[in-house]
């Protein structure tokens, strides 16, 4: 165990490239928009010291496949990608170095519902396969239910209620949680 606040900047930077990942709601914050998709994925590998271009490119192509992006988009810049593809590329860029802990800030936030479902399924499968620990922020209770085991309900900077996700959502105890859960419109 290490105290994060006591780490040097170099150590924190190393953590961000290795054991940690961060998926932003706004993909342009998590990607280099003017670097190819392959470059975006390969950057973390190079940061870890891999210098073998062919191997990096091969790994990047494999990851593009895992997040369901066509192989022929490897050399295209993310600025030419749709919102859903950018989000999947951001996930590939984060997971390529097999982090142990990934933070996700509204990963399906700005997306059309038509791409949300596939992305949720993809995230869920990757979490299960890689044994990832994820801390996710979302306003969408359905997303919380589908992706998380545990939930912490927050209001004004304080945790109001926490526990097993389906229990908190189906049997909420705190007044604020009840308000949230019982206010959701069924589609």
């Amino acid at each position: 165990m290490r105290e994060l606040a006591s780490l040097s900047e170099a150590e924190r930077r190393a953590l961000m490239r290795t054991d940690w990942g961060f998926v932003h709601q706004d993909a342009t914050l998590g990607l280099r928009m003017n670097v190819s998709a392959g470059g975006n994925i390969g950057e973390r590998l190079m940061a870890l010291g891999d210098r073998h271009y062919g191997r990096i490119r091969k790994t990047a192509a494999e990851w593009l496949g895992r997040v369901e992006i066509a192989a022929d988009r490897l050399d295209h810049k993310p600025s030419t990608y749709s919102g859903g593809m950018r989000q999947r590329l951001q996930i590939a860029r984060n997971l390529v170095t097999s982090p142990r802990l990934v933070f996700m800030d509204e990963p399906t936030g700005g997306l059309d519902v038509s791409v949300q479902a596939r992305l949720l399924d993809l995230i869920r499968n990757l979490i299960a396969e890689m044994g990832l620990a994820v801390v996710l922020v979302t306003h969408d209770l359905a997303v919380a239910r589908l992706l998380s085991n545990r939930i912490m309900v927050m209001k004004e900077g304080a945790v109001i209620e926490s526990g097993l996700t389906d229990r908190v959502l189906d049997d909420p105890q705190a007044p604020y949680t009840q308000l949230l859960v019982f206010s959701v419109l069924a589609a």
Binding site: R118, L164, R167, P175, L179
Partner: protein, 238 residues
């Protein structure tokens, strides 16, 4: 009560009420003093009228509802886990390894195929990808889900077809304990028979069942014991 080797689930002094904060803190008592046990290889059915608290008892046993008081002891190898006190992690783990649940309605990620939904449940219980798919396929075949539906997401399926996907998912983990909330409600006679046969087969292999069946015929054929929940019900006390 001292747990015996055959005990799979022991419920003692279980109590539950809802407090509705959006309605002036109104308190809605559901059940109190619930006590019963389920042994390995036994099918226990909860009986009683609608609103008596049958589903709430099932949900507490699965960890889905909070228990206000009492114990829910689930056998895990040589020890017992108290679901009423267990941490979220312990409940998640128990659901993977020991207990499954079939609800009245299927709730899944949209656009995922029926086969993948069932296979994911088998994967969760520890099977490798291919073995999980094989078990999922066997279950869907067994429950007469037409082959051409397997690769499709269940959203457009009929109620009975969705329910069979739901049952297949619940059985895919081959858990010690299965909690069934009216699994046969929307099924026709042929498919009801298929479900009854599946339950009977698992029971013969030692699985225990805690269930609600409104269908008299199904109850006749499967129930080793019917527990009337009315004596535990707040509705009866009111």
């Amino acid at each position: 009560m001292m747990p015996a080797a055959a005990d799979l689930l022991i419920v003692e002094g279980l109590e539950k009420s809802f407090t509705l904060h959006l309605h002036g803190g109104a308190r809605l008592p559901v059940v109190a003093g619930v006590a019963f046990a389920v042994e390995r290889g036994e099918c226990v059915v909860l009986g009683g009228p609608s609103g008596a608290g049958k589903s709430s008892i099932l949900k507490m046993a699965y960890g889905n509802y909070r228990a206000d008081r009492g114990r829910i002891l689930l056998a895990d190898g040589g020890r017992f886990l108290d679901i009423a006190q267990a941490s979220p992690g312990e409940i998640v783990d128990a659901r993977r390894r020991i207990m499954g649940y079939v609800s009245q309605f299927l709730r899944v990620i949209p656009r995922v195929s029926a086969l993948d939904i069932v296979a994911a449940a088998a994967r969760g219980a520890g099977l490798e990808v291919e073995a999980a798919r094989a078990r999922a396929a066997a279950l869907l075949a067994r429950l007469n889900l037409p082959n051409h539906l397997w690769a499709l997401p269940p959203a457009t399926f009929s109620g009975g077809e969705q329910q069979r996907v739901n049952i297949a998912r619940g059985f895919a983990g081959e858990h010690d304990l299965l909690i069934l909330d009216e699994p046969t409600a929307s099924l026709d006679a042929v498919n009801r028979d298929a479900v009854v046969a599946l339950i009977a087969e698992r029971r013969a292999l030692g699985a225990g069942f805690l269930s609600i069946f409104h269908d008299e015929d199904v109850r006749e054929r499967l129930a080793d014991r019917v527990i009337d929940v009315l004596p535990f019900s707040a509705q009866a006390a009111a």
